[in-house]
């Protein structure tokens, strides 16, 4: 696997060691004193047997139980591509980017207008992801409004797996649908064992803040743990609404929710491939919109990444997303700030690239521009090589004061190591004026259209494709 995914500069911390300890110990305190409501009786039973104190659905966790479970964290979760080849090692300081899921709207790349998303959009996003070098995994982005809504999640999965070879992070409406999706994935991988050994899928599910493990999402978590398949368990603590307004309190509550899920998964299957992350964001108290790009959200995500590192769990993080209602300057600046910060922090599975309108709309422009931004940020994160060849003391001496480096062999040897953008422009003014005078948004839309018109992902084998259709169809009642 290429080294380019690795953070080669010192990782950015936002929590000092002592603050991490305080947040960790306070989390244990919340789990012990307040506990969590668990709405799935089977989970309550497992937690009780595992040593939790249970009173009806309220489950309280002894601290040593949590500490013991945390000794089993999987330091690396490997995810493969559709063909079973290793594609992502989710571990300390490896950063991979992907799209988000389930936006009711999409900006049509041809008309430029926002409209309800349809299945075709999910196929199209998958194709664009398949093409883009810096995007490593796919989430469905839109939510298809033109299929049976009861099993739209199954359609989403089928659309993704048919249109990209890259790993898939998916959502499922309930346990039944999850089972169907996993049977699709197993068919693709060539069986249950093969999927387990070389998983190319991970489920996204979540606790309900404050401090609740809901029935369906817990069933889904348990199923993935039993199957030993990767599962992301990520809360949405909205500070001041579903959690304390101060970030430390929000982090503690969110951490307690994640760890409650982790302990459960670990009791079911020691060392289950559990992905930490979230989801501690703020609400704009003037408009009551939930922010996808507030300073507090970015800061809290960095803090959660610090906690993930502390526990040696992979981190599900955010980037390339925006609150702007359209693809514009705001969208690209918010997307870029996220991308930089999540990279400097070393988040692992970094999602929501392409979100605008606070998670309600998918933008192809935002996605392709983010691909450029990620490239740029990766260059920053690759750091500076310091050795004889790069320090060039002899060369400096040879050329000396007043010389030039343009014609030196050394420049020729190394200048290609600099990073070059695809969409970001550096052409001189006169040429830009003469050629096309296009701004970034226009170029982004052109680029998206170009990919859609020219890129054909490796298709699934015909027989397999038909088999998937049959499995999905059998559920379409």
């Amino acid at each position: 696997m290429e080294n380019k995914y690795r953070l080669n500069i010192p990782r950015l911390n936002v929590l000092a060691r002592d603050q991490l300890e305080q947040i960790h110990l306070s989390t244990l305190e919340v789990l012990r004193r307040t506990g969590v409501a668990v709405k799935e009786p089977k989970a309550v039973e497992i937690l009780k047997k595992g040593g939790c104190y249970v009173k009806a659905e309220r489950v309280r966790f002894p601290s040593n139980l949590v500490e013991r479970a945390l000794r089993n964290t999987p330091p690396r979760i490997g995810m493969c591509d559709r063909s079973g080849q290793p594609a992502m090692f989710l571990e300390e300081n490896n950063v991979y980017f992907g799209t988000g899921s389930d936006t009711p709207n999409v900006v049509d790349p041809y008309t430029g207008k926002r409209r309800t998303s349809v299945l075709k959009d999910i196929e199209n996003v998958s194709r664009v992801v398949d093409f883009l070098d810096e995007i490593s995994f796919v989430m469905c982005s839109g939510i298809a409004s033109d299929v049976n809504p009861k099993i739209s999640d199954v359609y989403h999965f089928e659309a993704m797996v048919n249109h990209t070879e890259k790993p898939i992070v998916f959502t499922a409406w309930n346990l039944e649908n999850l089972k169907t999706i996993i049977s699709l994935a197993e068919a693709v991988a060539g069986g249950e064992e093969k999927l387990k050994n070389s998983p190319f899928v991970a489920l996204y599910t979540e606790p309900i803040s404050p401090l609740t493990l809901a029935e369906e999402s817990t069933q889904k978590l348990m199923f993935m743990a039993e199957k030993s398949l990767p599962v992301v368990f990520t809360p949405a603590v909205i500070t001041g609404a579903t959690g304390p307004v101060t970030l430390a309190g929000g982090l503690i509550q969110g951490n307690a929710e994640i760890l409650a899920g982790y302990v459960l998964a670990n009791l079911i299957n020691e060392g289950a491939p559990f992905i930490y992350g979230g989801g501690v964001t703020s609400m704009d108290m003037a408009t009551s919109t939930l922010c996808y790009a507030s300073a507090e959200f970015m800061l809290a995500t960095s803090a959660l990444t610090d906690l993930a590192r502390y526990y040696r769990l992979p981190m599900f993080s955010f980037a390339g997303c925006s609150d702007s209602n359209t693809y514009d300057q705001q969208a690209s600046l918010e997307g870029a700030l996220w991308t930089l910060l999540s990279s400097l922090n070393g988040g692992n599975l970094v999602h929501d690239v392409g979100y605008i309108n606070n998670g309600l709309t998918t933008s192809f422009e935002q996605l392709v521009v983010s691909n450029d931004v990620i490239g740029l940020v990766r260059r920053i994160c690759s750091g500076i090589e310091v050795n004889e060849e790069t320090m060039t003391l002899d060369l400096i001496d040879e050329i000396g004061p007043g010389g030039e480096y343009l014609t030196s062999d050394h420049t020729l040897r190394h200048f290609k190591e600099n990073w070059y953008p695809e969409l970001i422009s550096r052409v001189p003014y006169d040429r830009w004026e003469k050629e096309d005078k296009k701004d970034l948004g226009t170029k982004a839309r052109d680029r998206a259209k170009y990919i859609l018109e020219n890129h054909t992902p490796q298709p699934l084998e015909k027989k397999l494709k038909a088999e998937l259709r049959k499995i999905a169809e059998s559920r379409d009642r």
């Binding site: 009711p104 939510i143 409004s145 809504p149 009861k150 739209s152 409406w173 309900i208 809901a214 909205i238 001041g240 609404a241 579903t242 609400m283 108290m285 003037a286 408009t287 009551s288 939930l290 309600l360």
Partner: protein
């Protein structure tokens, strides 16, 4: 009348602790419950809603004012009932079955309450039977439903159809809201109204009940 202005001012300040005592004081000055309601409590909240709409104050400040208003309401409620003053209206509200998103619904419920409506909040994951039962039992003027999921918004249609079957549809105004919804969806499922945010939800209820 000074005391009524004082009540309104305390509500604007958002002090739930002082409003009950002031309400008692107003009653002891022989001011009618209805005047306390309209010229004190509601007047205070009207200013608050105006300032919220202008962006001068924020949700938590509105909600604390609503709490203050409710504290005063508790005291005059029995008197209003006695003197047969028509309450402003009763709203039954909930997030529909299968949906656990409740933040938006809660804000709408609290703002309605703050505007003087009686609100019965059924929580989230509410099945149609429960909506029907409560609408009937409470003789609600308005039924509010919230949904944030494409998979659950269609359930609103089922609720409205059941209301029709039970002969309740004419008796109650149905309003809906939630991020993926639209005016045209409301029309499609024969809801009486849709509002994209909490402040317009209050205006919507006002309009529907004034018709």
């Amino acid at each position: 009348m000074e005391i009524l202005e004082e009540i309104a001012a305390e509500i604007e300040k958002g002090d739930p602790a002082s409003v009950p005592a002031l309400t008692e004081k107003a009653l002891s000055q022989d001011i009618s419950a209805q005047d306390i309601l309209n010229k004190g409590l509601v007047a205070g909240m009207d200013t608050i809603s105006e300032r919220f709409k202008k962006g001068e104050i924020f949700i938590p400040e509105v909600l604390i004012a609503a709490k203050a208003m409710k504290a005063g309401m508790e005291i005059i409620k029995p008197l209003l009932a006695e003197s047969k003053v028509e309450a402003k209206g009763k709203v039954v509200i909930g997030t529909v079955k299968g949906d656990l998103h409740d933040i938006g619904k809660n804000i709408v419920a609290m703002l309605l309450e703050g505007s003087g409506y009686e609100v019965i909040d059924l929580g989230n994951d509410v099945p149609k039977e429960k909506f029907l039962e409560q609408v009937e039992k409470e003789r609600a003027n308005v039924l509010g439903m919230s949904a944030l999921l494409t998979t659950t918004m269609t359930y609103m249609r089922e609720v409205i159809e059941s209301l029709e079957k039970a002969g309740l549809k004419q008796k109650v105004k149905v309003i809906i809201g939630g991020a993926p919804l639209t005016y045209s969806f409301a029309e499609q499922i024969k809801a009486d109204g849709y509002a994209p945010d909490a402040a317009s939800a209050v205006d919507l209820v006002k309009d529907l009940l004034n018709q």
